[in-house]
Symmetry: C2
């Protein structure tokens, strides 16, 4: 019995959506090619993401290299901590994720250290799953692909494990671009890499993949969102921390979830909503979509809250496809430290506030004669003292590493009131991070249907495979089918093809086989509209348009066909409006 | 005196087109970031390329990994031959391109071997340009970034030096996708890498860059193009082999150039034409564009013909931005050999042809008793003989490495006439290969103008920087400017912003500074249209639209403004039609 993954992958390979990479040379796990239809599908998914996040949220996209230098990944923690525990078979030399091998004998194997895993493997006498050989000592294997920039191996480079770091590194430039004002967001769609030890889940676990990430820099004192009202009524399936403890998810509006403190704040809630809208728009079934909150022990120590969008797949169960986190000021602080550069924003108050402050006033008339050339340094050191430092008999300061005692009469102090116009803050970062490959696979799976239908009027029903892709993401957007391969039908068909292409619509011209067979070929790649040119076209200039999902047909004019199709794909025009029922 | 490169780069950095990568950590030569405006500009350039080559030529795009396995690059020759000659300073350890150091003392230094370069450096006593130290022996440095796939360093991976190889490797799958018919084309837009020894030309020589390549597989017996008539009248500046010998380029129609055998054939000419149309559409000046043919000694030995599109830049002179080559069957043959797989196509003839063939008929009645178990093998060997092999006294065949003599009477032969329905051919490959980064930089340079103009009516003239980008590629497509920051003007301005975004138009809202200053800010980033909301807007629902290039203004309705702007950007509507002159 084939499962849905097999059905989808069979179709995907046969029709040019997904191919194993380097097949000509035997292939390599963890790499997939997007064939002609797959690449177009993926591109359309990315463009819808852009429409939502770049155009409509105004989080401009940037593009930085996929190779990064070492400093970046020292700061981000990837050099030190981006690893999986590895054990090798002593006999066949095959490598395995150690935590995957002990899943049956311990709980939460991913929380164990390499040494602990070595002990577990020894104690339970776990052997190589391939050949039964003994397993070696477990060690941490860094998952970044490493390379060398320039000759001589002097400068290490890494293929980025996420697109995010590029946006943190560019923070000073971005802040200027946005004229020093918060909040602002920036996005990136591009390749990221993870040198998996032994990937075994097809398109779900890739060594090279595409991420779409947004980093939104916000004022930590205000995590509301000005457009929250637009989305607060959207109902999501939430699988919260509490829900996971109780083993049940619940449907709830985003407004209520923020109100009830299930989602930490409005800004995060807003991102969940836009994520939901994006996923459904590209073709994920809302019934197979939920938002799971990270459990406390699963969340990064610095994160304020974190939710994954998970999509249900037939073979893999609930698969994480998006992570949405409030990462607080962790990333900017880490890069500030590594680069020894301040990464912060001066925020003006709406009106100045008055602040009382303790102020030390050194008396230079006394200090000068007493300390001569050192007096200035000592005065500066005195200014930094707090009121408690001045309460003793003598006052001590440290200058150039030496403790110096200063007579009390050389110093006076008072409380002063100052007007403060703003403050310097480190922005917090809200990060929605999308796995485009998993999303693309998921929507293929959710769009895949097999049903019984007649190929042509009057014939027996037989299996029809149909990809019910939203017209906006379908790779081929229209098929043009001359009823017969005769010049008088081919010519107008070619004219239609040309008009559609000029309007930017991807068209397939197909003149081989019966019309029924050609409909089938287009159904299984998800072509939403098939346009047939027949003898009536010559008479009255009309063609039939067939709707993929309902298999209904309408008769419409050849003139303006490109606008007719365009409006159905992009402007929500319904098929019933496209022409006269046949 | 600053040159144009400096002017453009200053603007590009300041306004968010191009930034040095990893600036926070001191930067690394050969890497550039596309900032918010640069990334959008580049994306639009790529999308126009797609419109021309993917949608309109129907060369479907695929997407394969940027990491490739070793076999691919052994076949392609990159493991063996993709290198530059390197010499290191013995004192300061800096690395240099040896051929660049000897440019003043020998001609065509790029034709010299590493050993020859070592000799030249010694003979002319050439020293390190940085510190004057002695230079080491020259060796060939491979320019591919190398990495390791999976743990243990067992499997080498390389960052692809070009996108092309992915399309050759997928040839069997692609051929099936196109239902075994020639010609077909396939494209890829993506990252490629070249680990330059010491890149010193800013954005012109990058270690990570974006290519857009098409591989078009054609029947070697027919290099005409069915749509040649559409483009044969286009006039290009051609700098042919002969022209280069004479030191002059000439203007010529593509039709004439093919007719006169300057361009090898129609298919190549067609690609030159589409390349020209693409470059001019994205904003390259036709006056600063020429097509240069590769000289015979510069062309790869297998290539039938090769032309570069070159763009003139102020600092770098003529820069290659596109290469268009007829690569014959070289790539498919190389991969067929390395993979031990046949990469070819069976082509049916329109009608069968009759072929006379010499046929050997072994007489099994004689061979059987004579050779027993070996008789079958010997019979097969006999069938492969040619008529001249049968003219001697005895007949010899080699079976299992042994020479066997066969009696003449064991063999008869005759000429037979056979009907042949087709043949198996190895397609030839036409490859247009575009350097997207260089094109993007070039069009910025060609669009950059400084002029004197009034900021506002009645004021003095002062310098205006304007990027005259085609509206289709301008990153920000419209600016919305409320005359004053008052609610009654901000509200309709926001409404316009929302309507434009819904139509997919990238809008900047700007309410700070005088209107004149805001126009200037938008002029220098190339925003083609600025929409100003003023008090008349409240009265009659109209706004002004200002044209970037002419600085003219028209008054147009707020309702339908998104369609008005959209049609000017994408549908060739002229500015004069956009509203009533002010």
């Amino acid at each position: 019995m084939t499962d849905k993954y097999e059905q989808v992958i069979e179709l995907a390979k046969r029709r040019g959506f997904l191919w194993n990479s380097f097949e000509l040379y035997g292939g390599t796990a963890g790499f997939y090619d997007y064939g002609p239809l797959g690449a177009m599908l993926k591109r359309r998914v990315e463009n819808i993401w852009r429409d939502i996040f770049v155009i409509n949220e105004e989080y401009y996209e940037i593009e930085v290299p996929t190779i990064g230098i070492e400093d970046i990944f020292i700061a981000s923690g990837h050099v030190g901590g981006f690893s999986d525990p590895l054990t090798e078979c002593l006999k066949c030399k095959e490598a395995f994720r150690a935590d995957h091998l002990v899943g049956d004998v311990v709980e939460n194997p991913d929380t164990l250290s390499a040494d602990e895993l070595t002990v577990v493997i020894g104690k339970h006498n776990i052997k190589c799953p391939e050949c039964g050989g003994g397993l070696g000592k477990v060690y941490e294997f860094n998952l970044m692909f490493k390379t060398s920039i320039g000759p001589g191996g002097k400068r290490s480079g890494y293929l980025r494990p996420e697109t995010a770091q590029g946006m943190f590194v560019d923070f000073p430039r971005l802040l200027k671009f946005y004229r020093d004002r918060l909040p602002f967001g920036v996005t990136q769609i591009g390749k990221a890499y993870r040198n998996e030890i032994s990937p075994r889940q097809g398109v779900i676990r890739l060594r090279e993949f595409t991420q779409a990430e947004a980093e939104i820099f916000i004022d930590p004192r205000d995590k509301t969102h000005p457009k929250f009202g637009e989305i607060s009524d959207i109902i999501l399936v939430l699988y919260s921390q509490k829900g996971q403890e109780q083993g049940s998810s619940e449907k709830m509006s985003i407004g209520d979830a923020v109100q009830n403190k299930i989602i930490a704040h409005q800004f995060l809630g807003y991102c969940l909503a836009r994520t939901y809208q994006f996923l459904v728009r590209v073709g994920v079934s809302p019934e197979k979509l939920r938002f799971r909150q990270h459990m406390k022990d699963e969340m990064a120590h610095y994160a304020a809250d974190c939710w994954d969008a998970e999509i249900q797949s037939d073979r893999f169960g609930w698969v994480e496809v998006v992570g949405i986190a409030d990462r607080t000021d962790y990333d900017l602080k880490a890069h500030a430290k590594q680069s020894e550069t301040e990464l912060n924003v001066y925020v003006s108050y709406d009106k100045p506030i008055k602040v009382e402050r303790f102020a030390v006033k050194p008396n230079m008339g006394v200090l000068g004669p007493m300390f001569k050339g050192n007096a200035g340094k000592i005065a500066n050191a005195l200014k930094l003292l707090k009121s408690e430092d001045l309460s003793g008999e003598t006052i001590e300061v440290v200058v150039d590493g030496k403790v110096i005692q200063v007579d009390k009469e050389a110093v006076s102090f008072e409380n002063v009131t100052e007007e403060v116009h703003g403050e310097t803050i480190i922005p917090h970062v809200i990060e929605p991070s999308f796995g485009i490959d998993r999303i693309t696979y998921s929507l293929l799976e959710h769009s895949y249907f097999e049903e019984e239908a007649k190929v042509e009027e009057g014939e027996e029903e037989e299996k029809r495979i149909v990809l019910r892709l939203p017209p906006e993401v379908a790779p081929v957007q229209a098929a043009v089918l001359p009823l017969l391969t005769r010049k008088e039908l081919i010519d107008p068909a070619n004219k239609i093809v040309k008009a559609l292409r000029k309007a930017g619509i991807l068209v397939a011209f197909d003149d081989s086989g019966t019309i029924g067979r050609r409909y089938r070929r287009n159904d299984e790649i998800g072509t939403p509209y098939s346009i047939t040119v027949d003898y009536q076209t010559i008479d009255d200039g009309t063609v039939t348009i067939r709707d993929r999902d309902s298999m209904k047909q309408v008769r419409a004019g050849m003139d303006g066909i490109e606008e007719n199709i365009y409006d159905m794909i992009y402007k929500g025009k319904s098929f019933d409006e496209a022409g006269r029922k046949v």
